[in-house]
Subunit: 361 residues, 2 copies
């Protein structure tokens, strides 16, 4: 569906995202020029094949300017990029309202500036870590303002498509609220929950199950990076967390009022709302997550055992939608949970059993 | 390591857990008798092979009584079971202090009653769903009181071992605090977070990533079951949640005081504590979770592709410690993340690449 971008794309900033966009566009044959206030960083991106060095004196006017500088600088750089007559300007920061507001406050052209957020990254940073396929299959949110023309919005969507991403269009405000809800607030909760383990006995932590592991996985993320992200979207994150804190206080009150052996109905309501909310999360490829059945299988914990299991599933022509390995204590075996479409369930269970697998469905 | 239990085990309650314990003990050749106030339920368990019907008039005295009745009845039944002279008495409820206190208050023998909690279950219930291997490799917490002799504690540990489980000994109070922290409070948080999605736009939910999926997975659990569990451990759960709520209020305050582009240091501290807490969770088989490296691989979303990948890992003699499949929108491919020991990392990456896999490490 990608429409090649005609003309020149100027990328300002040659870090991981800027250089990866350059590589992705070059892969598609687009002319890319790169600028960076740090010439050695720019030279590294050029060496990696992310584009040609930008020459201000060459008289070239870019069709599209991609601002890929750190969040704190993005607004000012977008404003300055308005000097390129006619060019559409976009950025790649993970929060959208603050940099757009700053760009306009500094005289940026409200007609030509359109925010973007490719939802991809790596733990490594810099052009050395850049990859042309960094955005393949990832969501790239495009956040137009009312003054933007459809043609310019399409140009930013084409940028996303050319980079292999899936563009999703929403307003800057919608974006910031969406990531506050689906990414930033969950990060805070995961960190706070994991922090409760600091003072726990070793034995208490030893009974941790898969639920706790799932809920604290993102607590392992880089604190400095998240401090910056949460700061740039502080109001929206605080709003989500405040609603949640109020709900949490309600549950605590209800628990303290509990009769023996049965919590208050308010607890039941909270749990039921959780079931309903969970069901709203789209599954793989946008399908309904609730559409899958789970097939538990016990396997020996040895090289090749998972392979044998998945080859069997492939032989049975069953596509596995998800796989989870449950960790058990002290035994050389593991519980593997395969998620499949309901219509494949019986075929998988019977087929695996006939091949000698210990299926617990 | 299992020491066979000599004498007769009486199981009171023939639901999923009671009947599964019967099947597991019978598998090991132990004599099992079953009682249930519902005779047809007992008969079903007997038909399934979980043991012989208990006959009060036969004069038989059990060595061990396993009380496997619903949590609300467990204390009273343990007290009544003290009438079996000399028998050790245990239960299987998921909260330990409340039923033990009730058993003693009702005249149960403090020397012979020892709580237990096999951490296993199924979504199905009743003897029809019982399995002899339900407890294989699962943690079975044993919660002695000071009055219990080591021999009686060993008998309950032997019960766990004979059922294939891994016994972990802690006090009833430690147990209830441990599960409040590692299971019950996470359940509440997951439900509350998922509930925030109820009022969100479809587009906002569409940008959900793996982090949110992980954090809301257990929000799909049965509300009625969890209402009962949370009610029976209400004080301990409320205490964990209250500490967390206080930490949450601190983060909300810090976010509201945020400077543009950088959150307050209190946010950084919360995030850093999360990293440290997360690192305390034991990994597979009790190893340190932080010991694994992640190898991302892009595969086509077709039957057999996972099999091809895992066969390759097996051929390379690399044991996969964990597997995660990342869901992407609208593209017929998937990101699979393989967790391996650091010493296997290079062999896996090079071996997969040489076999044509798209490894993103």
């Amino acid at each position: 569906m990608s429409v090649p971008i005609s003309g020149t794309v100027l990328i300002i900033g040659s870090g991981l995202l800027g250089a990866s966009i350059g590589l992705a566009l070059r892969r598609a044959g687009v002319r890319v020029v790169i600028d960076d206030q740090d010439e050695s960083a720019r030279d590294l991106a050029v060496e990696r094949g992310a584009g040609q060095p930008w020459r201000a004196d060459a008289g070239e006017v870019p069709t599209l300017v991609v601002v890929a500088v750190p969040p704190a600088a993005a607004g000012a750089v977008m404003a300055r990029a308005s000097a390129f007559a006619g060019a559409t300007i976009t950025d790649v920061t993970s929060v959208k309202q603050a940099p757009l507001a700053e760009a306009l406050a500094r005289g940026g052209d409200p007609v030509r500036i359109i925010g973007g957020h490719p939802m991809a990254g790596r733990e490594a940073s810099g052009a050395a870590a850049a990859r042309p396929d960094l955005f393949d299959d990832r969501v790239w949110v495009v956040t137009p303002l009312p003054a933007n023309s459809p043609e310019r919005v399409d140009l930013v969507r084409d940028l996303a498509l050319t980079c292999g991403a899936v563009p999703v269009v929403m307003s800057p405000d919608q974006h910031d609220q969406a990531v506050a809800l689906t990414s930033h607030a969950p990060q805070v909760l995961s960190s706070l929950l994991a922090a409760q383990l600091l003072d726990a006995d070793v034995d208490a932590v030893a009974v941790s199950g898969q639920g706790l592991r799932d809920m604290t996985r993102i607590a392992g993320s880089d604190p400095a990076l998240w401090q910056a992200i949460l700061g740039a979207n502080a109001d929206a994150v605080a709003a989500v967390l405040a609603t949640l804190a109020s709900d949490l206080d309600g549950v605590i009150d209800a628990l303290r009022a509990a009769h023996p052996d049965a919590a208050d109905d308010r607890v039941a309501v909270a749990l039921e709302r959780g079931v309903a909310g969970r069901a709203r999360i789209p599954g793989k490829h946008g399908d309904d997550a609730a559409d899958y059945d789970a097939v538990p299988v016990i396997i020996r914990d040895e090289p090749g055992e998972l392979g044998r299991l998945f080859v069997a599933a492939g032989d049975l022509d069953v596509n596995l939608e998800d796989v989870r390995i449950d960790h058990v204590l002290g035994k050389p075996s593991g519980l593997v949970e395969l998620s499949v479409r309901p219509e494949s369930m019986q075929r998988l269970v019977e087929g695996l059993r006939s091949r000698g697998f210990d299926v617990r469905a």
